[in-house]
Symmetry: C2
Subunit: 147 residues, 2 copies
DNA sequence: CGCAGTTACTTGTTCGACCAACTAACTCCC
DNA sequence: GGGAGTTAGTTGGTCGAACAAGTAACTGCG
């Protein structure tokens, strides 16, 4: 078999996203949006630059995700008082109303993913993924500093 | 921390794809396309339905990937002689010319990903990913049969 | 034979994600 | 103060990926 881990990563990622989409669908969210909402719920109103760094996505990706969430009414943007270029993103009431369901879906997704693995296996998997993430990040960024 | 493995899967997937994109870029391929090419190289001309099943992607995704690869000159389509609805997808000479470089890139990606992990750790990771894939697949498909 | 149902592929639409190029606003330093 | 350089966010384009809905061709059964 040629390079099975590459293939496994790709397949697991796609399936994981598909399952996430199924779970999030009924609350009107798409995969990726829940991460932004969770970040805002947990850490309050934040600039897009902070979100983009926390979620580790491109600024342009973030812009469009925020636009869609704003359009859907889950998020609001206010001009930053101290920096005229920046926006602060904040959850609306409608956004907050999703919180419990999203967290439940997130837990369920984790359970589905790890079904049948022992605690030790989960720990090993998690630590292996952390190292893989470090490896990939180092290569992608060209340095180990920002990982 | 809330549900760390979910997050890890998502981050690793994105980084893995980003690194793949960097490696494939210079040969004019995008992530996902290399999987199709490898499938065709390894198993010869195939119908799109076979490809879509082998790569486990939606038929519509496959259609467009084939269209782009065809447009790029890496792949050719011929009407299937025994079934007027189907197409057989085949690598062109230009496609075949990429083979060595793609396989090298694929190996490098695997090496980058697994850098610093022992053989035993890789084996454990791979087996854990296989089980996770089974779990997710079962949920996504609603049955264990097709996994 | 001919119609019903299935299968193979396509198209439209939406979304995440990236890169590249751009604007507007801030900062720093002469 | 004012220009050079940086930072924040946006827009345009492209691609993978999915779902939904559609067309054309095959299959099976009465």
């Amino acid at each position: 078999m040629t390079s099975p881990v590459n293939t496994q990563v790709i397949r697991v990622a796609r399936l994981h996203r598909t399952v996430a989409a199924q779970l999030l669908r009924e609350m009107g969210l798409h995969p990726g949006q829940e991460l932004l909402m969770m970040q805002v719920w947990d850490h309050g109103p934040q600039r897009q630059s902070a979100l983009s760094e926390a979620l580790d996505v491109d600024a342009s990706t973030l812009t469009r995700t925020v636009q869609r969430l704003e359009h859907a009414g889950f998020v609001r943007r206010n001009r930053c008082s101290t920096d005229g270029r920046a926006w602060e993103v904040e959850s609306t009431k409608a956004g907050l109303a999703l919180r419990e369901r999203v967290l439940a879906a997130w837990d369920e997704l984790e359970k589905i993913t790890l079904n049948g693995l022992s605690e030790a296996e989960v720990a090993a998997l998690s630590s292996a993924l952390a190292r893989v993430e470090g490896n990939l990040c180092e290569f992608a960024r060209g340095s180990v500093e920002t990982c």
